[in-house]
Symmetry: C2
Subunit: 217 residues, 2 copies
């Protein structure tokens, strides 16, 4: 309606429903129900489904419909394996003249700070995504950007499983800030090492939550 396609708008809605837990992992997402709730045609809903399936936020099973992915600890490991390859690699490849291109990272850090002050943890999570996407964008590779967009989208899916988001999101604020400080000083090698251990900790925390959940279930 306003700007962009309605299919994209429907996609945004669905994306929120997923990250807010209104749509739980494993849930079936019916074409007709979404179409009637958002008052759009079924065709448009199908278009939105494709967009989200593209980012891994929905899975499409032929003749059965679309579902919210049932993420497991294996997915956590896979996502973090790729993050550990990509993100420190990008930081390590930076040089002194990149210290002037960190504006978007600063913005993301500021966004996270104000959100944390307001105890708005979902927004802290969004800011964290912005930070890491901006970080990867420094590499200047369009294809890497697409891949990182996918990964951060799936990250939201993983975080959505966690009951208490604060416990996971809060550490990000400080650590992103510290990583940025290292990078501003041009200490990229140190930054990459810092990022590696930071990602390792993050993976460990999420993994623990998942394995606990998988044990009880």
């Amino acid at each position: 309606m306003s700007q962009g396609s309605t299919a994209r708008a429907v996609g945004e809605h669905l994306s929120e429903w997923i990250t807010e837990g209104r749509l739980a992992p494993g849930d079936k997402v019916s074409e007709t129900s979404v179409a009637s709730q958002l008052e759009v045609s079924r065709n448009t809903v199908r278009e939105a489904f494709r967009l989200l399936a593209h980012d891994g936020l929905l899975v499409h099973e032929f003749n059965r419909g679309v579902f919210v992915p049932q993420v497991t600890s294996a997915d956590v490991r896979d996502v973090y394996r790729l993050r550990l390859i990509i993100e420190p690699g990008v930081v390590r490849a930076l040089t002194a003249r990149d210290t002037h291109r960190l504006g978007t990272l600063e913005a993301a850090v500021a966004e996270a700070r104000t959100a944390a002050r307001r105890r708005d943890w979902p927004r802290v999570g969004t800011a964290n995504m912005h930070f890491h996407r901006s970080l990867v964008a420094l590499a200047g590779s369009p294809r890497l950007d697409v891949m990182m967009r996918r990964l951060t989208a799936e990250l939201r899916l993983l975080f959505a499983v966690i009951d208490d988001p604060r416990y996971l999101y809060q550490p990000f604020v400080k650590r992103n800030k510290e990583l940025l400080a290292l990078m501003t000083k041009g200490r990229f090698e140190e930054g990459a090492d810092y990022l590696e251990s930071y990602l390792g900790d993050s993976e460990g925390a999420i993994l623990a939550a998942f394995e606990e959940r998988e044990r009880t279930a």
Copy 2:
């Protein structure tokens, strides 16, 4: 109809048209023309467009339609940058017990050999794609597999620009075979180094063709 969706079948057709040059880079791909030529509905064509756009074989511009990507030397560099990160990394991470899991690679090498004997260069190209996809599959990462599928699809797009495919495809046959030999012996570090230089040469050859083309155009 037969197996899978008709949208997928339409996607296969379009994919062939692109790699065969029937659809040239920069061409607009009209919904209605494809729908009438393949005798399917516009709706189905739109679904197929999304599928191919997902793999980078088509680009979608809002309110303007879909186009065959206008690939440039910058795209060559970007694709190879990612290949150089991913593929040698996978090989380096392998261990002795992976030497028994190289069956798909052997099959791809054999496929390339027989195709080369028949001077069927497009088929050699396909076999080469299979080889590198199988290689990355050894890492056991579903998300890396998806990414590699995208990259190889785009690779076909790059190769489609080259006039004489034999010149580019022929070296692959021998080099894939030699890489496989190293891997079979468990010499993964050497294999990774070999792959790096091999990819570097490949990039250089394609890049030269692109820069020549961009100079004349």
